[in-house]
């Protein structure tokens, strides 16, 4: 663990909205291969941290490094190309598009043809479309979406939409995948499936994961490291076993019950 290569470094970032300090001086480091979880009470600033990593908001102070390069001020849309991709807490899919198009959209920056050539369609654009379609089909297979690939997203149930969101992020072939409450709204069985997917993504697809989740069963089980925050501040960071027994985590977040 010590020799692991550092992938993401967040250094002392601050973010506020009006009078509210959403993030107040948080620092942490995510190594390659980690499943790094962020936990904390509602409104603690977890999503806000994710938003600064993906560039939806820029931190007012502090910086964010990806593989040593400063990406603090990089525009949102440039980050996926650097390998940073996310899912959203409340579904943010392209509802009017089919599942397939949602996934194909993800790969737009990997597609290698111009607008002008696309009006002729045959030739390079077609070849590229087919090539990427194959990649997308792999993901469809992996997440078992093949029955619904031509369905419009708005027709799907919540649970399926969550899975499509994960698929859409995967289609971008991220190095660092940020997941914001992927299990919310799922029953035990579905939660187990999702956990399994995350583990496989981490292990088989070689993807580092930052996970925000309130389901402590999952978090404690699959995380390699955990960061706990409250009121925008770090209260604890470490191995699952350390965090689960931390006094402040217990009182602020977990309640009395012991989780490990």
């Amino acid at each position: 663990m010590i020799n692991k290569e550092s992938l993401l470094t967040v250094k002392n970032i601050y973010l506020s909205f009006g009078g509210i300090m959403a993030v107040a001086g948080v620092s942490f480091n995510v190594n390659k291969g980690d499943v790094f979880s962020i936990i904390g009470p509602n409104g603690a600033g977890k999503t806000s941290i994710l938003n600064t990593i993906t560039g939806i908001y820029f931190p007012e102070r502090g910086s964010i490094f990806l593989k040593g390069a400063d990406i603090t001020k990089m525009p949102v849309y440039k980050r996926p190309a650097k390998g940073v991709v996310r899912t959203f807490q409340n579904l943010e899919l392209f509802k009017g598009m089919t599942v397939l198009d949602n996934l194909m959209l993800s790969r737009h920056s990997l597609m290698n043809y111009g607008i002008f050539s696309s009006i002729f369609y045959f030739g390079k654009p077609l070849r590229e479309e087919v090539r990427h379609r194959e990649k997308v089909e792999e993901i469809i297979d992996f997440l078992d979406l093949s029955g619904i690939r031509k369905k419009h997203v708005f027709e799907l149930s919540y649970g399926l939409q969550k899975r499509v969101e994960l698929a859409r992020a995967l289609a971008l072939e991220p190095e660092l995948l940020l997941l914001d409450e992927p299990m919310a709204g799922m029953n035990t069985e579905e939660t187990e499936d999702m956990a399994r997917y995350i583990i496989d993504i981490n292990e088989e697809r070689d993807t580092t994961i930052v996970l925000i989740e309130h389901d402590m069963n999952v978090v404690m089980d699959i995380s390699s490291r955990i960061l706990a925050i409250d009121f925008g501040e770090k209260i604890c960071e470490g191995l699952p076993s350390d965090v689960a027994n931390d006094e402040r985590v217990l009182s602020a977040y977990l309640g009395e019950e012991k989780w490990i």
Binding site: G40, P41, N42, D193, R196, N217, E257
Partner: protein, 261 residues
């Protein structure tokens, strides 16, 4: 007090979602409705609360009776007046109204003299909301929004509250709090509750009776104690018993439920 008899619900005149569903909620009880994604739980609640209409859905068969009155396909506004209030899935706070205005909107059907008292009551349940009373609801975190959504329901002082996944996205501490609130509601507010949840452990813990639905039908029902002991429920809803499990050991993505119809 609520009897749902054999209802069928159809969306857009074609998609049949509920296929002869029946359930009952007795006065003063908490009843939970469990089921996997897409089973039709939300649809059931909307059928009761009259919100189907706004989604081009209709109850095409069967009947819904609340305290002796037929309410299927009645206007949502009328149903709220009758005393049923649905807390919708996904919180659905009014994003560009502030916290207090959200509460006032919740009290639309209540006598105006009581609005102030109700607001104070909500603030005692959720002090956090009081701190944020002038903040726009859209900018609050998920948990805060959920509190507001429940607070709004309290503003209407309903006889029956329909809760659609109230614990969704809440921290463990808050989940407990929500379930405590449910207990309190039932004890102090004298409200009956029909609860849709994914967190079956908690849901069964606070409820008297439970229904499990799949594919638009009830496939299993019983008192909460009975359900907790049921093997299938344990396996698919509670996660093997009470202890935590090793997700890494779960090898297969999809196992099928035994009661699959």
């Amino acid at each position: 007090m609520l009897n749902v008899n054999n209802i069928e619900v159809v969306y857009n005149d074609v998609i049949l979602v509920l296929k002869g569903l029946s359930l009952n909620v007795r006065e003063g009880s908490v009843v939970c409705l469990l089921g996997s994604n897409g089973a039709g739980k939300t649809t059931t609640l909307k059928a009761v609360s009259g919100l189907l209409d706004s989604e081009d859905g209709r109850v095409t068969d069967g009947e819904i009776v609340f305290m002796g009155d037929r309410i299927d396909n009645k206007d949502a506004a009328e149903i709220v007046k009758n005393g049923i209030f649905q807390i919708m899935e996904g919180r659905r706070v009014f994003k560009d109204l502030n916290v207090e205005e959200n509460l006032i909107a919740g009290a639309y059907t209540s006598p105006s003299a009581k609005v102030k008292d109700y607001i104070d009551k909500v603030y005692t349940y959720f002090p956090r909301l009081k701190e944020r009373r002038t903040q726009l609801a859209g900018y609050m975190s998920g948990g805060e929004q959920q509190m507001l959504a429940i607070g709004r329901a309290l503003m209407a002082e309903p006889k029956l509250i329909l809760m659609d996944e109230p614990s969704l996205g809440l921290s463990p501490l808050l989940v407990k709090e929500i379930f405590n609130i449910i207990k309190t509601l039932r004890e102090k507010e004298n409200a009956s509750i029909l609860l849709v949840e994914q967190n079956a452990n908690m849901a069964l813990a606070v409820s008297d009776y439970g229904y499990i639905m799949e594919n638009g039908k009830i496939v299993l029902e019983g008192t909460s104690e009975e359900l907790v002991k049921n093997e299938d429920v344990k396996e698919f809803y509670l996660g093997s018993g009470t202890g935590r499990k090793r997700f890494r050991d779960v090898k297969h993505y999809r196992r099928r439920k035994r009661w699959l119809s």
